[in-house]
């Protein structure tokens, strides 16, 4: 036997729906009319009805064993397990945020102190180098014109640039050697060291607070020397909260027997 070739997918769906009783009254009427006129449709209907009845006569298959659940099987799947997972996820997130806040506050406070020290140190160093008739000017190894101090400050001529570079190099922190060796000598550093330190400037700089002196030591050396505790109360609280959350998350993640 071959399947009726003229049957479309729509006709197959009509037959299925007719057998399942899901046609509308109008569709059913039209289908019954077509059945009287189309022997191929009648044949397909009889065959598919036979298939459907055969499928519905298939028995249940006997189960090989009982599938009852025991306490041991369901304990790992109890709802508290998912709750513990949620607690773990939230605890991890809060601990990460606390850690980020700790780092942020620590960095921002350090940078805040550094930012305060640099602008305060700059004018003092500039005043020191811009003092007229200073020994530094007399002992300079290159010709220095003598413009007014205000003019040189507002629009410095080319000849006075090394002097201001020296002042800036004293104020702006320079990288320290990592392993105790000498820092790489730049042209600016060589120029600064070749100029003798003026006594007047030395006297003036001694009057400044220690952390604002334009000394050769970098500003973070003076920052380190300030009496600042290792962890301030807020940071200590955040660190303790982070550690506590991490421990709680680890404890809650352990499977409970």
């Amino acid at each position: 036997m071959t399947a009726p070739a003229s049957l479309s997918q729509h006709d197959l769906e009509l037959i299925s729906s007719f057998l399942d009783g899901s046609l509308t009254p109008k569709e059913r009427h039209n289908f019954l009319s077509r059945l009287q006129q189309e022997p191929e449709l009648r044949q397909a209907l009889a065959e598919i009805r036979t298939v459907r009845e055969g499928l519905r006569s298939l028995p249940l298959i006997r189960v090989p064993r009982a599938f009852r659940l025991t306490r041991d099987m369901v304990i790992p799947l109890r709802p508290s397990q998912s709750q513990r997972s949620r607690y773990y996820a939230w605890g991890s997130a809060v601990a990460a945020m606390a850690l980020a806040l700790l780092v942020f506050f620590d960095l921002s406070s350090s940078w805040g102190l550094a930012a305060q020290s640099i602008p305060a140190a700059l004018p003092a160093a500039l005043r020191t180098q811009a003092t007229p008739n200073s020994p530094a000017r007399a002992a300079a190894p290159f010709p220095i014109s003598s413009p007014p101090a205000a003019e040189s400050f507002s629009s410095p001529p080319l000849a006075s640039q090394p002097t201001q570079v020296q002042a800036l190099s004293a104020a702006v922190p320079t990288p320290a050697p990592l392993f105790g060796g000498a820092a790489p000598a730049s042209a600016t550093n060589e120029l600064s060291s070749s100029i003798p330190q003026p006594p007047a400037a030395h006297t003036e700089s001694e009057n400044l607070p220690s952390q604002l002196r334009p000394s050769a030591s970098p500003p973070w050396a003076s920052l380190a020397s300030t009496s600042r505790p290792l962890l301030r109360p807020g940071e200590l609280l955040l660190a303790l909260a982070t550690a506590g959350l991490a421990i709680a998350a680890l404890v809650s993640r352990r499977p409970r027997k």
């Binding site: 769906e13 459907r52 006569s57 298939l58 028995p59 249940l60």
Partner: protein
Amino acid sequence: MAARHDIPNERQLISASQGGNLEAFNQLITGYQGQVYSIAFRLMGEAEAAADATQEAFLSCYRHVREFRGGSFRAFLFRIVTNACYDELRRRQRKPTVSLDDLSSSRSEESDPEDLSVLSDPGETPEEATSRHELRRALEDCLLQLSLEQRAVVILADVQAMDYTEVAQSLKIALGTVKSRLARARANLRDCLSSKGELLPSEFRLEEEAVP
């Protein structure tokens, strides 16, 4: 016949299961395990894999029974078991260890009358019982030749006698998709049975029956 077996006090058992009562859930399992295992066996074609999928489905159902918000619990449960079978079959397709032919042959070996738990009709002659068994074997083999999507629809709609809405809920597909897949699956089964005509009892030899 795989008739629908209503479980007495099903609603109460479901409510108790949602409260964590394992014994109540085991009563639901006892009522549904035959249908669930039959679906898994006919979808997968292998007894051991079907048993694993059935056990996994019941565990998953217990885990998610709180998410059941009413309606057809049978559709809720059958959806879980079909998903478990789909996952296992997809896993096997990625790492094939048994071919479809092997499945079919092992299925035939397992499909002895005892495994199929033949419900013999009283007054049926031995010849009629044998013919009916041949028809069932032919149908089971033809089912395995359908695509997985068509197989799932025809197992739920015809073997488990679910209505279109329940099938759509179980398989999470549209009602129109259920109708079209079911019509195509039945037509394919008809073609398959025609090719096995000599195996069929006389009343299922479609050529002869079609002659007016």
